[in-house]
Symmetry: C2
Subunit: 496 residues, 2 copies
Amino acid sequence: MFDNAEIAHEVDKATYKKKEPALRQSLLDAQYELLRQKRFPVLILIGGVEGAGKGETVNLLAEWMDPRHLITHAFTVPSDEELERPYMWRFWRQLPPKGKVGIFFGAWHTQPIVDRAMGQSSRSGLDARISEVKRFEKMLTDEGVLLVKLWFHLTRKQQKKRLEALESDKATRWRVGPNEWGLFKRYDKFSKVSEHFVRSTSTGWAPWYVVNGADPRYRALTVGTTLLAAMRDRLDEKKPSTPGGNPPPLLASVDGRNVLRALKLDRHVPEKEYEKKLEKLQGRLNLLSRHEDFKKLSVVAVFEGNDAAGKGGAVRRVFQAIDARFIGSVPVAAPTEEERAQPYLWRFWRHLPRKGRFLIFDRSWYGRVLVERVEGFAEEPAWMRAYQEINDFESDMVASGVVLAKFWLAISKDEQFKRFKEREKTPYKKFKITEEDWRNRKKWDDYERAVCDMVDRTSTDYAPWTLVEANSKYFARLKVLDTLCDAVERGLKRCR
Amino acid sequence: MFDNAEIAHEVDKATYKKKEPALRQSLLDAQYELLRQKRFPVLILIGGVEGAGKGETVNLLAEWMDPRHLITHAFTVPSDEELERPYMWRFWRQLPPKGKVGIFFGAWHTQPIVDRAMGQSSRSGLDARISEVKRFEKMLTDEGVLLVKLWFHLTRKQQKKRLEALESDKATRWRVGPNEWGLFKRYDKFSKVSEHFVRSTSTGWAPWYVVNGADPRYRALTVGTTLLAAMRDRLDEKKPSTPGGNPPPLLASVDGRNVLRALKLDRHVPEKEYEKKLEKLQGRLNLLSRHEDFKKLSVVAVFEGNDAAGKGGAVRRVFQAIDARFIGSVPVAAPTEEERAQPYLWRFWRHLPRKGRFLIFDRSWYGRVLVERVEGFAEEPAWMRAYQEINDFESDMVASGVVLAKFWLAISKDEQFKRFKEREKTPYKKFKITEEDWRNRKKWDDYERAVCDMVDRTSTDYAPWTLVEANSKYFARLKVLDTLCDAVERGLKRCR
C-alpha cells in the first residue's frame, strides 16, 4: 500500500511557482461552486506519520481556499460528554454541512491504529473496528458526503531526517519531544498496523490517497490536484448517480400472513388490575433507574405505532416513573435547515443521551422506512439502505452501553376509526387529529407492509422490536413498562 | 416575598374537574398559536423547595400541552465541557427556539442559592450573581423570550408533612432520602437565602410567581392560569412593543476628531525586520500556548476591521504559530434557521472553546453595532442595548478564564481603494472583492462613526480593544501577535 509513496519525489521551486497560482484559483472556484450548489459537503481526513506535513497541509488548504467556509477540527482526547456516548458521536457532531469543506485532523482512524500499535487491542479487535469504519464511510458517501482521505507517509529514514531537522531549527524545536521520538521508535509497528488499516479501509467509495510527505512542494501540489479532481468530479456530475443502483425487491407476501396480523390486538386488562400493576411496574422501573449501576448505562426507548395507537399515553406512564431530572424526550418533527444539511441520521445522533439518563424518541429514525417510504419522500435506494444504516447505528449505541428498546404500538383499523372519531369530539384532543391522519389511514395496507419489512430487517438480537397489542390502552401500557423493565434489568446485569 | 404563598389554599375536586378541561384547551390553543406565530419562545423556570410539586408540575404541563413542542431540561451536575466554559453556557445551549415552550427544571438560580445556603459563598458573592442573573434575564426578555418563573413554596410545617407523606407511601418512598431530610434541616437558611434571591431577581421584565405547593389542585390551576395569561398577553399583542422605548442619542461629534483619525496608519516595518520579528513573535506565542498552565485558560481573539484591512493575513500568522490541534476559527456568516430562532448572542455562545484552546472569530458579535447598525438590519433599540449585552457576555467569558483579545484593523480610505483595485486584478484574490465591498465603501463615514461608538462603549478594562494601524500589513501583523502574546502572558500570570 505504501510502496508507491516510498518513491522519492521532488518538485523544484520554479515548477511550483508556475503551477501553484492556477491550482489555487481552481480550488477556490471549486469551493465557491460547492457553496453555491449546496448539494454535498467535502470532508478531508488527514492521517499519517509525524513530521509528514499533516499540520502544514491543513494550514496550506486554509491559505488556498476561503477559510470562512472551511471547518477544521482536530480530535484529541475525548471529553466526558463524548466518552459517555458511542465512539462515532464526536465525529458526527463535527460533520461539515452541505456546501462546506471540513478538515478532520485525526479522525475515526486514529484510535484503532494507536490502540493496535501500542498493543492495547487484538488483531480481531482491530478488524472489528475496520468493519465499523467501512460501514460508516459507506453510509457517509451514500448520503452524498465527498470523502477525501489523505495519508501522509514517510520512510523510516525520511522521518528520522525530518524529526532531526525540526529539532535543530529553533522555530520548530517545540514540535519534537520524547513523545515524537517514542513514536518513531515504534515506526515498524505503526507502519505495519497503518498499512493494514489503510489498505482495508481503502474502498471503492472512499479510497485513501497515500502521499509521500518528504518534499513540501510535491506534497502540496499532489494534495491540491487530487482534492481538486475529486471536487470537480462531483461538481460536474450532470445527474447525481444513485449509489449502488436500484436495489432488489423485498420478500414477496403470498398468503397475507404477517407479524402484525398474527397479533391478538384485543388483549385486555380490567381497570382495577391495571391500576395495581401499573403502580407496581412504575415502582420497579423507578427502582431500576436509581440502581447504583444505572449511571453506567443509558436508556433509549423508541416509540412508533399506528396513528392514535396510544404512544403519548404510554410515554407519559414511563415519564411518571422516572425522576424528571433523568428523563427527556425528542419529538421527531420536520428536520431543520442545519439538519437537512447533514446525513439523515445526524439529527438523531445529536440527541443521544449521556449516561444515567432515559431518552424517549416519539417517532424516530424509522421514519425513513415508514412514512418516507410510503409517501415517497425518500427514494427506494435511500430507504432500502436505511435498514442497514439503522442496524449499524443501533449496534454502535448498544456497544457503548445504551439499553435500546423499540416499541411498535399496533391497533386494528376499526379501533383506529373509533379513536379518530373520539378525538374529533373531545375539544382538547382535537389537535391530535388532522387531515393527514385520515389520509394516512387510506394507505393502511402500505404502512402495514412497511412495518413488516421494518421488523424483518431491523429486529436484531441486540435491539429487538417489541410489538405491542394496543387495542386496549391498559394492556399496551403495561406491556411497554414490563418490557422496558426487563431490558433495563438485562442492561444492569451486563454492567456487573 | 413568600408571605402570600404561606396562606393556605385548597381547591376541591369538583371545582378542579370543572375548570381543568377549559384551561387545558386554552393552553393548548396558546401553544399552537405560539408555534404558528414563531415570534418568540416561552421559557418556564421551575424553582422552589423539595416536595412542593416541581416534578409534578413539569409532568402536568407535559400532559396538558402537546409534548412534541415542549422541551424539558433538568440541570444537575455540569459536565466537563460545561465546566470549561462560562457559567451561563450550559443554559444557552438548551434555550428553546422561537415557537417552542422550554421548561428548565432548576436553572441559573439554583447554584447561587445552594452555594450561599451551604455557606460556600459570601453575601456579596451572592449579590454579584444576582446582578449577573438580572442582566441575563433582561437580555433574554429584550430578545423576545417570554420568561415565566415559577417558585414553589411550602411552609416548614407543610414541607415536613409532605416529606413524611411521600416517605410513608411505598410508591414515592424513593423520593425522600437523607439528602432531602438534610435540606429540610436547613429549611430556615434556605428560606432566607431563597427569599432574598427571589425578591432581588423579581424584576419588571421577569417577575417570579411564588406558588404555594401544598395543594396539588390549587397549584395546578394557579400555574396553568398564570402561564396562560402570560402567553395570551404576548400572543395577542398587536404591535410588538419596543423594549424600553427609543434610546437616547449617542455622544455628538463636533470637531471630527476621534480615535480612528488619531491613528498613525502609515506606521511601517521593513521586510527584513518584519521577517525576523515575525519569527520571534510566533515562537513566543507558540511557547505560551505550550505553557503548562495554558490548559487552565482559553483564548478568544476577535478580528474586526475595514474591508481589505488584512484580517485574513493576520489571522493566518496566528494560526501558523499554534499547533493546528489547538486552534480553530469561526467565520461569521449569515445566521442559520436554528440561530435565527434564538437570541442574537446564541450563535456566538455555541462556539465558545474548551480550555487549552485558541478560537479566532473572523468578524463577530460586533456585527450588530457595525454592519447591522449602519445598514439598518437591526433597529436602533436593538443595537443600542447590544453594547451592554456584549459587555456582559465578555465579562462572563473573562470571569471564567477566557483571555479575550479584540482587534480593529484600520486602513485609510486611499489604502482601501488601492487594495480593492489590486484584488480585482489578481485572479485568486478576486473572490475577496464584491459589489458589496464597493457599496460599504460609500458609507465610510457611517462605519467610522459606528466603530468609534463601539470602541467607546465596549473597550473595557477586562476586554480592551486594540486598534491596529494596518496600512502596512507587516506592521499590523506584528502588532496583533505582540498584543496577543501580552494578553496570554497576563492570563497565565492570573492562573498562578
